[in-house]
């Protein structure tokens, strides 16, 4: 495995002249494993939260494939997804929904995993278009993944090549139902099957150069 030079262990000389070792992956990244986050203890509170989560879907603005172009019209007067409590956030920390908008090359997959893991629990993933389902027209490509749910816990697929914005809106409505029903537990599922996901991810990402979980 080729480690990037900036991630390799290095000997550093401090201002007092003493030399010591810096191991970036250990020193610069949190190594703690993720944990399952239980729902609120009181059911009614969890229901309230689930309602709020459903009515306030913040999308991570990360266009991974050609489907990204289908999301833009949702902000326009014609579709206006804001009415349904759907908004775009520029940072994964604040987003709840990750839309994989089309084919995902292994190179992008690494970034997608990073961004997904930086989102806060609960978080949801929508696979957009047939490429995320079975590779679509890239079924025999040497560098795109064929099944998104091998790598990330997908809550919902929206089929098509590409699905139109209406289909996306419809998908949001279905996602809302899932969330409200308390079935949007992809984040916990990811943690529960963490080893399986990681194994799948590492099988296709040959230069794994990040900690196992990107906090």
């Amino acid at each position: 495995m080729a480690m990037k030079p900036e991630l390799m262990k290095r000997m550093v000389k401090g201002p007092d002249g003493l030399e010591f070792e810096v191991e970036p992956l250990r020193d610069y990244y949190c190594e703690a494993p993720p944990t399952v986050m239980p729902a609120a203890y009181i059911k009614i509170v969890e229901d309230l939260f689930n309602w709020a989560r459903a009515e306030s879907i913040w999308i991570l603005g990360f266009g991974t494939g050609c489907g990204a172009i289908e999301m833009r019209p949702l902000m326009t007067p014609r579709f206006d997804a804001y009415r349904y409590g759907v908004q775009w956030r520029p940072t994964p920390r604040q987003a709840n929904l990750f839309i994989i908008s089309g084919y995902l090359s292994t190179k992008t997959l690494k970034r997608a995993i990073r961004a997904y893991e930086q989102m806060q629990n609960p978080k949801y993933v929508i696979g957009l278009g047939s490429c995320t389902i079975n590779g679509g027209m890239y079924w025999d490509s040497y560098n795109t993944i064929k099944r998104l749910d091998d790598y990330l816990p997908v809550d919902l697929y929206i089929a098509g090549c590409m699905p139109r914005p209406e289909a996306l809106l419809s998908g949001f409505m279905d996602l809302k139902k899932l969330i409200r029903a308390g079935k949007g537990e992809g984040a916990n599922k990811y943690v529960e099957n963490f080893d399986w996901y990681k194994a799948n991810q590492k099988r296709v990402i040959h230069d794994w150069d990040m900690p196992d979980y990107n906090w």
Partner: protein
């Protein structure tokens, strides 16, 4: 004026009213913006939902002590600003905690939240946060100047630094408002106001497409919820100062809501029309257009 224990529940009542009004007002202004773009816009209660959701997020991370305290500083700044200024003129109930200090206290307490937030965002270690802060602080130095000059002008005009007395001096008809007795100062202040509301053309601090999204890049979950609460309180608290200084204050909550809405609308109105300035452009804009008015208001008052 001095402290008595009843002030605490009264202040909490003010806080409660303003938080709710702020949430609704923010949504309303956002809806107005959406309507200008011929969209339907968010539901009016959307901000509540967002806040509940953010409190409802199950996980969170922290980058350190200052990161953790940043939102606390921010919201304390908003709440304090609100409570240091009497909200309703002539009302003991809603004079809040203004016994602690006068106008100057409010003016300087504005920076409490800004500074704390800047420190918190700074500890996140994210370069975008730092870039956003440099932009915000740079812009603030120029945007606060016309407002500061206008405040000084008004204080000179009424020979007092007490907010209550300034409002008292404006009673007895709309023509007694500072807006009409000292239009230069008010114009300068209202131009400066644009710069402090984080709306276009002065929103390069957040610049979602460029440095997503400036200082709060790393904030999420309950941190963000606190900051959202502040976003409801802070503009209103700030507008209360403007209202008291320039627009005759408010005798009752209805007038209050109306005036605050109109003043807020001014920044929204400009915001939906104009694109974004770069930092040095906005600094120059304030120095060229707003500051001379403020200087003039000081000279002629």
């Amino acid at each position: 004026m001095s402290f008595d224990w009843m002030k605490i529940p009264y202040s909490l009542l003010t806080l409660f009213i303003v938080v709710n009004y702020g949430f609704l007002l923010n949504a309303l202004i956002q809806k107005i913006g959406a309507r200008v773009g011929r969209r339907h816009g968010i539901p009016i209660w959307q901000n509540y939902v967002d806040m509940i959701k953010n409190y409802g997020l199950r996980s969170s991370i922290t980058h350190g002590v200052m990161f953790y305290l940043g939102p606390v500083f921010r919201l304390s700044g908003g709440v304090g600003l609100l409570l240091f200024v009497p909200t309703i003129y002539g009302s003991y109930m809603f004079s809040n905690l203004s016994f602690a200090g006068d106008l100057i206290l409010a003016l300087y307490f504005v920076f409490f939240g800004t500074l704390g937030m800047a420190l918190g965002a700074g500890e996140s270690g994210h370069p975008h946060a730092a870039i956003g802060i440099t932009r915000g602080l740079s812009q603030m130095t120029a945007a606060e100047l016309p407002f500061g000059l206008a405040v000084f002008s008004v204080a000179l005009q009424y020979q007092t630094l007490s907010v209550t007395e300034i409002v008292a001096a404006q009673q007895g008809g709309i023509l007694n408002w500072t807006l009409f007795t000292n239009p230069l100062a008010v114009t300068a202040a209202m131009l400066g106001f644009l710069g402090s509301m984080m709306r276009p053309p002065f929103d390069v601090v957040l610049a979602p497409q460029e440095i997503p999204i400036g200082p709060p890049t790393e904030y999420h979950s309950s941190y963000l919820a606190l900051m959202q609460t502040n976003r409801a309180i802070f503009p209103v608290a700030k507008i209360v100062i403007y209202m008291n200084l320039f627009f005759g204050g408010a005798d009752d909550w209805l007038t209050f809501c109306f005036k605050v809405f109109l003043i807020y609308l001014w920044s929204a109105f400009v915001g939906v029309v104009f694109p974004r300035f770069r930092v040095e452009q906005s600094i120059r804009w304030f120095l060229v257009w707003a500051v001379p008015l403020g200087v003039l208001s000081i000279v002629v008052v």
